[in-house]
Symmetry: D2
Subunit: 419 residues, 4 copies
């Protein structure tokens, strides 16, 4: 499906890892409906290991027994998702999310469960078994659940058809597929098979590919098969990772828009890593969080909140409801870096984009370690006439200027709408 | 100097190589004034070897004796540029060009003449000689005239100051400096010295760096020192080179605009290679020439005509006076490739750019070897409402469309203004 | 164990692939005892998949059920190795081989059976199970039987101890361990654990590592853990592979000797690929086979016959019983390539080695595609006095010569003992 | 010419750089005749810049005027080599060296003097001038004297013929040619032309190529054209450089012998860098100097003394007259590294070679930073019988041993003859 703006939502990974459960999902969905929905946030996504009954942190349990139906399809662990009892799968939970006016997503791994293979399980609608379509040498290097599926084998298409029809029957709107994005070209045939099965399942679903870094040369494969794809390995609340994202975004910006969303990963804001410590909060400073939001929005990355939202403080909620910054995510066009350079003892990045509703965006980032005082001539943006400018983080407006004066702390940023 | 649009003009290399002379320059300048000036063409540039009396083709004469003043500065060969007699240099020729309402440019090589070094010549305004500032191991690999100058040596700054002051006194508006663009980082200090001397000489001159390919990682150095820089080695009338330019332009597009002009090289159109055969013409087909012009203009490369203009046929003149295509060169903003992919048996590239005067440009190129019939949904350009479109090569207009239907021969293109 | 000369024997892979059975082993052992033992041949090695009841060719059956004891240890498939019935394993077959005055070897894969892991099998002498020591992400890329063992886990050491004690109880003299040689550094800890278990099992066994190419920089790890290691991927009867072996041998020759044997792989001679066609024979010409034997012997590769020996023709038997060539395998020291160069339209390689019993070996190979006529001055071998030379393939002797005259067909060779 | 053992001699570079003069050469030649000749030392080589009148240290003077005859051939600067006055060149100095029973060598640069080119000088025996055969883009990156010669040009062969005939007329026995060894493949045609001219000049001369590192893949070109070639850039009295030589020697050892001598460069022993400080001495410790000599001799590098010999102290003279170590240089065959590994906290290298006069050499090097106590089983050298061993540095002899006990300080070594 072609989405007109980058998908926005919440994902359970940053706050609960593999240990997410139904109660958590419900309360975060409710919070989103009450506090964030009006700002465009809509997807509620259950991340990895929802079929593993003993999952309790960000760590996986090697060779743990998974919940599975007779057709080699993983189903939610009832002890963690009680409403799934009686073979209902995620349908009741999805129904609840939909009742709030939101959309529901789940995580899957590329492939078929190893346990289905070694137990000789069936594949729906064929005489074949899991053994017949699994590849002995296609595995995920960081999770032991699955074997890759050989797209050339009889039964492979039926397997993928069977799982997406199941998910459609549950009411799933968003699939985050893991162990696939950076696995090209070896997983390319399987990705295409999977994508076709998803698109043919009778329900619109966003397809998100993980983990990154995506391979730039394979951009056409991503565009052909998916809606969004990760341009980075897991992103966490570490300045170095944020610093590096500027280079990744510069590289991918010309491939963003018109339903294609290179993905800078979840926003590790607010209360994260709750499975380890309920008091843990993002280590990003407020400046760094604004820098992250500004970059994600001018670059037009998908926006997926990583924190336990019910524990949002005022700063976090304000960050996630900055109307003008979020407007930039929707309306920016043709975004690109203008320069990146040393200015005195610090390092500065300037991005610009056209606003589809009029005017031109500009974002200045101080990614060095010293305070920045700088004047940017609007001519550097090919704006040769005096123009009005609005500061998007504080709504201050100046009239008929020819220059931007910026004064930024280390890791800080400013974002403007010119004209 | 910051130019608001890509420089446009004529350069003698493609048609005369090292053998250009005064008569040729005058008649081409006159032609430009009469036929092209109204379309924005303005620079008339004398390319390499104007100080070499025996130059007669695109080949160099090893260790040929050059015309030089007592201060190690090359001066025009009088036998080829008669108006330079009596120490007048290029001043009379520049004056003529200016009298036509055009601008005058010359080619130089990085460095100081080897013959000045081995003859122990002086440097103006110092006690030093050429020997003192030349580097024994800095040479050009394809031309034997010069040694590189050691920017750290006393006298180096004075040498560069002396040559640009001479050029300013002649009335030069444009310097194409060779053996420098792809020679970073080893020539970086010399480039900075040269650029500062040029900017301090008292006359505005465009600085064009050659030959390419420029080094992407050095973009900030090019922006700091120059107005335009070659992104390719010499470009000739060969489809393979044109085909490859799409990748180069994709890579450089985010660095284009606001006075910075990555340069795809001269346009080898019309009567070229005249030093070898007066009947020689470009081997590009008409489709290929339109493809070249369209790419150069949406990417916003400088436009420098390579052919002997007085021999232009109707096609060539029309090509160079296509108002709407040239407007795109002036007004396109944020140009970038949208996709490049196989379509059936051929290969298609789509570029887009915003028009600073309103609307959005789109250019479709069939760079494969089979005919292309294709429909492009305007949604692929994030245009979701029905829009008017104008075909820029034939001015046809359609109203309220949602799709572009393109039918293109191999190597052909279409360019549109949407909205 | 430190072997004084390169191991010599027979291996079932080239002729039977995964389908080798007891009858085949017995008849080949008997043949070796009767025809080859006197020439130094001694090891009889059962290659891969002896625990897989349905193996029937060189192809593996994905996820096939293997024969295994309660302690996760693979045991021979009784249908293929009847004497193993009743839990006797390979003991009866080994006993038979020993009764012929020969030695017995088996193939193993690095790791622990996936089926033991997914079935939760025990490990002898511990409370741990296969699940506890297997790595979810350590697999073989060309065979689906095993998971790698995590050497850092409790139970890992006991597992390897338990398998080598089993093999020792059977009377195994030679272990060919697969999926390990080129898997460094990731399999390095497991290799060291395995090697220590083997050496501590109470019975001398040669340890042979497969498949190659071994990693030159890891030579010290190979020397520390093993007796021989493959310097190439599987070698077959293809001239290109033989041609390439010259470069591999040149690279590895300085690491050969004193119990360390870089391994150029089995000799695909005589009746090979019998599982596909009983009439199949090596595609190597007679010249190529002599070239192979000469290179393997002067380089001192292990010598493992690949063909069904009972079908040897006269040529093959003569090849394998060329006393003087086999002497070279035992007595060559400090072998190295002297030159490799174009001579007229063909390509020539000269190797030399010292004979520990006196004199100097020289081998000339015509590895090009044209006939070679050439004279090699003995001075090129630093032999400055006239010397006697013996042609090792035909025992012709010449006295007091200073030059070697060689006349060789394409792919042919000559080998000499000088002095 | 094929030399039977590595060339031995003295070279002026390490002690005088470009500043060597006649008096220095004479006194060093005399010293060699009196103290070293009996040990095999024979070549006396005048290194770089003997035609530059103002050379006074290891630094070059950019664009200095050189002494040259009318045929573009450099001749000795009379102020530095008085006996060359009157057009005699090096003939008188060579005659003196010969009178002492020694041989005479000189350094040359690849190419033709730039000053000959820019002055338009003649080439003996042709109508061509230096301009006609020089390449504008072939220079040396560390010395500004020459242009490379285009082997394809008429006159090129005559030029090289003319210089070697001049050197032959002077009585030169050894040519060290610089700016050529690591300049392949671009200088390959010039090297071949030069080598043929040298071999056709009517006098036997050793051809030594400099500087390194030589290119391993080009070994056949070196063997075809030269007697010795540098495997390293300039080697000085720095442990790191000596440490690195072990790897270089391992790589090149199979190409040593039979008149081919990969060259580890001069021995920086005794009084070196005399042009900067008359009191300067090698910074190598005594252990390091023995390690260097042992490696050079078992590897069979050429041996060229770098120090001012008349200032030799007892240690240095003893080092250079260690009969048994020098015998190893003459008689070692098939030398190669046996192992290189960590032993406790230090690093150990073992080399071995066959002695052409009987027995086997072994050299143990402690190249780590801790004391080494180690026992090496002779079986590691494939010596399985008890053998007599002689310590080559102190002539101690042990009978019927099976092991070598070595106790070495950091950077120290032992060398043995076994059997």
């Amino acid at each position: 499906m072609r989405t007109k703006k980058p998908p926005m939502g919440w994902n359970s990974w940053d706050c609960y890892g593999a240990a997410v459960n139904e109660e958590t999902v419900r309360k975060n969905a409710l919070y989103m409906a009450e506090h964030l929905k009006d700002y465009g946030w809509e997807y509620v996504v259950v991340d990895i290991q929802w079929s593993e009954p003993t999952a309790d942190s960000h760590e996986y349990h090697p060779f743990a027994k998974l919940c599975m139906d007779e057709y080699s399809r993983l189903i939610p662990a009832e002890n963690r998702f009680p409403s799934s009892a009686g073979g209902k799968g995620f349908a009741p939970l999805a129904e609840y999310v939909h009742s709030l006016g939101l959309k529901f997503g789940i995580h899957i791994m590329r492939g078929i469960p190893r346990q289905a293979v070694h137990e000789g399980c069936k594949i729906l609608g064929t005489e074949k078994t899991a053994k017949d379509i699994a590849m002995t040498n296609s595995i995920c290097f960081w999770n032991g659940d699955m074997y890759g599926v050989d797209a050339a084998k009889e039964g492979a298409k039926e397997y993928y058809k069977s799982i997406f029809e199941l998910y459609a029957s549950w009411g799933v709107d968003f699939i985050k597929c893991d162990d696939i994005c950076r696995e090209l070209p070896q997983a390319e045939a399987e990705l295409k098979l999977l994508s076709e099965a998803l698109r043919g399942c009778g329900r619109d679903m966003v397809l998100s590919l993980s983990p990154g870094p995506a391979i730039l040369e394979k951009v056409d494969v991503y565009k052909e098969t998916a809606d969004m794809w990760r341009i980075t390995d897991d992103f966490w609340d570490d300045w170095k990772a944020l610093y590096n994202m500027f280079e990744r975004c510069e590289k991918w910006c010309i491939h963003t828009g018109a339903g294609f969303w290179p993905d800078a990963d979840m926003l590790p804001v607010g209360a994260i890593r709750q499975d380890y410590d309920e008091n843990d909060r993002t280590r990003f400073t407020e400046d760094e969080q604004r820098t992250m939001m500004t970059l994600w929005c001018i670059f037009r990355s998908p926006l997926m909140i990583g924190g336990e939202m019910t524990k949002n403080d005022d700063f976090t909620l304000n960050l996630l409801t900055s109307r003008q910054i979020l407007d930039m995510s929707e309306n920016a066009r043709h975004a690109h870096q203008v320069f990146r350079k040393k200015v005195k003892d610090t390092e500065v990045v300037l991005w610009t984009a056209v606003n589809a509703k009029g005017g031109q965006y500009a974002a200045v980032f101080n990614i060095g370690e010293e305070k920045l005082d700088m004047t940017i001539d609007l001519e550097e943006l090919e704006i040769y006439d005096p123009s009005d400018i609005t500061d998007l983080w504080n709504s201050e407006k100046k009239e008929a200027v020819t220059k931007l004066d910026v004064s930024l702390p280390p890791h800080g940023c400013s974002a403007f709408l010119v004209g």
